[in-house]
């Protein structure tokens, strides 16, 4: 066995460091999906009638829909009756004071590097921590409230800000948008809500941390962000799950609405359990994320670092409706072992002089499959639209695959579209060159991959860029051989 193979073995057997299970009792409802289950979820959450109706309408639509087949993914049959749709860590009426929160729960988030005691928090980051189906704690709420910023769990928003929810929920991703969006709309349990009022720059990063803990459960959360005129917010989402042999389903929705001259940065570090080295277990991640640049000169930037999940199906997209609005999509997607990712973006240009930029970096190792799928659509009235797309693929080893599917639909001749694509490979000779200079294979891969992904990592908030850098290296450890 060569050294590289040995390292490969060592590391892929230790790997995922967030795979622990917390010993927290949870209250679950029985497996299965039907109208009664949806009524039960709604009842447990004490929801108003209109919310239940929204769910039931979505459910009836979902029943008529079929799982999408166009992605470059092999998705095993999912038995939707075999999933628990609602799991709550016990004692979980949300507590005002941390003293009342189950210490085991606090400990879980501490282990994940997300301390919920505010004085210990990274300064400048407010966190909404979601475990299984519910939000556990939202930090810095009072500080934010002073500026009129609302940052709370989705369930609380339904109770406390029903007008905003009614107005915006489903306005960017309708409950009939696609199969997984319909499913989410029917059974979603919690998530984050954020409203930045007119003229306010949010003084700290907002972040939601999702953790699946209970077995056999699916996680279905939704996030709604509204940035009113001339406001600004940077938002980060992180996620992990225990190491389990069975696959778990995660189907989320993110909706973002951005008004005149407002700006939103939405960053994701996706680190769901990817399955073991033989492809057993792991999260199926089917996510619909979409932003509406509604106002004039509104801006949305997506940054994502995707290292986890057994299957990723995800296309954060922007509708550029306001004139002079713009959007950027920066992505690094890493697949190793038997992971599959089909990810990319859609930029829909509707307003005049709208701009979009797409920088996608795929990294594939092991026997994984990594696809970029993107659509740039220029509508008839979108005069002066511009897009620049760059899709790079990096291969480690020769058993993995990288694919790009860039689609363009252009109905306006004044548009300027540029597309670049490259494929490269980390060669054994590059690794050996580094080894000869005293740099270990692990460090060499980390260095090369981080160099390759730099442009994307640089768009993340500082603290998270460092985390993401480490994560990239860990996900790829031992993958050349």
């Amino acid at each position: 066995m060569s050294d590289q193979d040995k390292i490969l073995k060592d590391v892929t057997q230790s790997d995922y460091k967030y795979g622990f299970v917390s010993n927290i009792e949870s209250e679950t409802i029985p497996k299965g999906l039907n109208e009664d289950v949806i009524r039960l979820i709604s009842q447990k959450k004490n929801e108003p009638e209109w919310m239940l109706e929204f769910r039931l309408t979505a459910y009836s639509r979902w029943l008529e829909m079929e799982m999408p087949k166009w992605a470059h993914l092999k998705i095993p049959e999912i038995n939707y009756q075999d999933i628990i749709y609602y799991a709550v860590p016990k004692q979980m009426a949300k507590k005002e004071s941390l003293d009342e929160v189950d210490p085991e729960l606090l400990d879980t988030f501490n282990k994940l590097g997300i301390p919920l005691e505010e004085q210990k928090m990274l300064t400048g980051v407010a966190v909404d921590a979601v475990m299984d189906s519910v939000s556990v704690k939202t930090t810095f709420r009072e500080t934010l409230a002073e500026k009129g910023i609302i940052f709370c769990s989705f369930s609380e928003a339904v109770q406390e800000h029903p007008d905003l929810i009614k107005q915006y929920m489903g306005s960017v991703v309708s409950s009939a948008d696609n199969y997984f969006a319909a499913l989410n709309s029917a059974v979603f349990s919690d998530g984050s809500f954020c409203y930045i009022p007119k003229g306010v720059r949010c003084p700290m990063e907002l972040s939601t941390y999702f953790r699946i803990n209970a077995a056999n459960t699916g996680q279905f959360e939704r996030t709604l962000i509204i940035a009113d005129e001339e406001s600004y917010v940077s938002y980060l989402e992180g996620c992990t799950a225990p190491q389990r042999d069975e696959n778990q389903l995660h189907a989320a929705i993110v909706e973002i609405v951005i008004m005149d001259n407002a700006e939103v940065k939405y960053s994701t570090v996706q680190n769901w359990y990817p399955g073991d080295k033989n492809g057993k277990g792991g999260i199926y991640n089917f996510v619909t994320k979409r932003g509406l640049c509604k106002g004039v000169n509104s801006k949305l930037r997506w940054s994502q670092v995707e290292t986890g999940s057994a299957i990723t199906w995800k296309y954060p997209s922007t509708i550029l409706l306001g004139n002079d609005s713009s959007s950027e999509f920066y992505s690094v997607a890493v697949t190793n072992n038997y992971q599959q990712a089909d990810t990319g973006t859609k930029m829909i240009h509707i307003g005049k002089n709208t701009k979009s930029t797409i920088i996608s970096k795929g990294i594939s190792a092991g026997k994984s499959q990594n696809s970029y799928r993107g659509l740039v659509k220029i509508s008839k009235n979108a005069s002066g639209a511009r897009n620049f797309s760059q899709c790079d693929s990096l291969l480690l080893g020769d058993k993995c695959g990288a694919h790009t599917f860039p689609y363009v639909e252009c109905e306006n001749n004044s548009a300027i579209l540029e597309h670049e694509a490259t494929t490269s490979k980390i060669g054994e000779d590059q690794i050996f060159y580094c080894n000869q200079r005293g740099i270990s294979t692990e460090d060499a891969i980390g260095m090369i991959v981080n160099g390759y992904a730099k442009e994307v990592l640089n768009t993340l908030p500082m603290e998270f860029a460092v985390e993401a850098q480490k994560l990239l290296q860990i996900s790829l450890e031992g993958s050349v051989g």
Binding site: Q430, Y433, N435, Q436, G438, S440, M447, N450, G451
Partner: protein
């Protein structure tokens, strides 16, 4: 410094090194010459720990330690340096970051703490002067888009940074213009001490005018078939390899 006994190595089942014996003492410069394909680069790769080659027999001691048991990075950290015949490009990794990592990894191995940023930058500046390498080159990605000659200069710059005990220069002269050859050779000479040694692989006497060898070896078909004083190189220049081929 280096003691090679009956070293045999193969690649894809084909034996390339067929029993090499070589003894290099501290302070010595050894030249290895020999026709194309005779196994010179293979020998340097095997010594540096490239696991594409399989060692089938023999023993190599490097300052008393069993070299063949060490992973490539430890051989480097122990003070073995290879200037590659064909240096590799590593896009996206800056020369500065690359060198900082290399220097600090070696220090860590030797039980020393990492270098301060200030000390490192000073070292970088000093060593750049030794090989007269352009500032622009060190601010780019490792070897990316470097010309053939620039890559070779960059190898010697890295050698200067890592301060090895034993340097193997695999055709560092090829691709260098006349001025660059002189600069690179002077650089190598400046780095030479009575405790360091080099193995210089070359096809031409030209380089050996500057870097004067103590011993010259001729490698042919995976064996050292002749060893002599520096005049042996001159003889080869004059007569070519035919006479060697005839007697073997």
């Amino acid at each position: 410094m280096l003691s090679i006994k009956n070293l045999k190595a193969e690649i894809d089942g084909k034996e390339i090194l067929k029993g090499i014996n070589l003894e290099v003492k501290p302070g010595e410069v050894h030249a290895i010459m020999g026709p194309n394909g005779s196994g010179k680069s293979t020998l340097s790769s095997v010594l540096a720990g490239n696991d594409r080659f399989t060692v089938t027999d023999g023993e190599v001691l490097f300052n008393g330690k069993n070299l063949l048991e060490m992973p490539a990075e430890d051989r480097s950290r122990e003070g073995l340096f290879l200037s590659f015949q064909y240096p590799v490009e590593i896009p996206g990794v800056s020369m500065v970051n690359f060198m900082k990592t290399a220097v600090n990894e070696k220090r860590k191995y030797l039980g020393q703490g990492p270098m301060s940023a200030g000390d490192f930058l000073k070292m970088l500046r000093d060593k750049k002067k030794v090989v007269e390498i352009d500032d622009r080159l060190t601010s780019r990605s490792v070897n990316e888009g470097f010309s053939g000659g620039e890559k070779k200069k960059n190898e010697i710059f890295q050698m200067a940074m890592l301060e090895p005990k034993l340097s193997i220069l695999d055709e560092t002269d090829s691709g260098l213009d006349i001025d660059a050859l002189r600069i690179v050779a002077n650089g190598v000479n400046k780095l030479k001490t009575e405790n360091t040694s080099s193995i210089v692989i070359t096809h031409y006497q030209r380089l050996l005018d500057y870097i004067v060898p103590d011993v010259v070896h001729i490698l042919y078909k995976g064996r050292i078939v002749k060893t002599g004083p520096k005049e042996l190189a001159l003889e080869l220049e004059e007569k070519g390899y035919d006479w060697i081929k005839e007697i073997n």
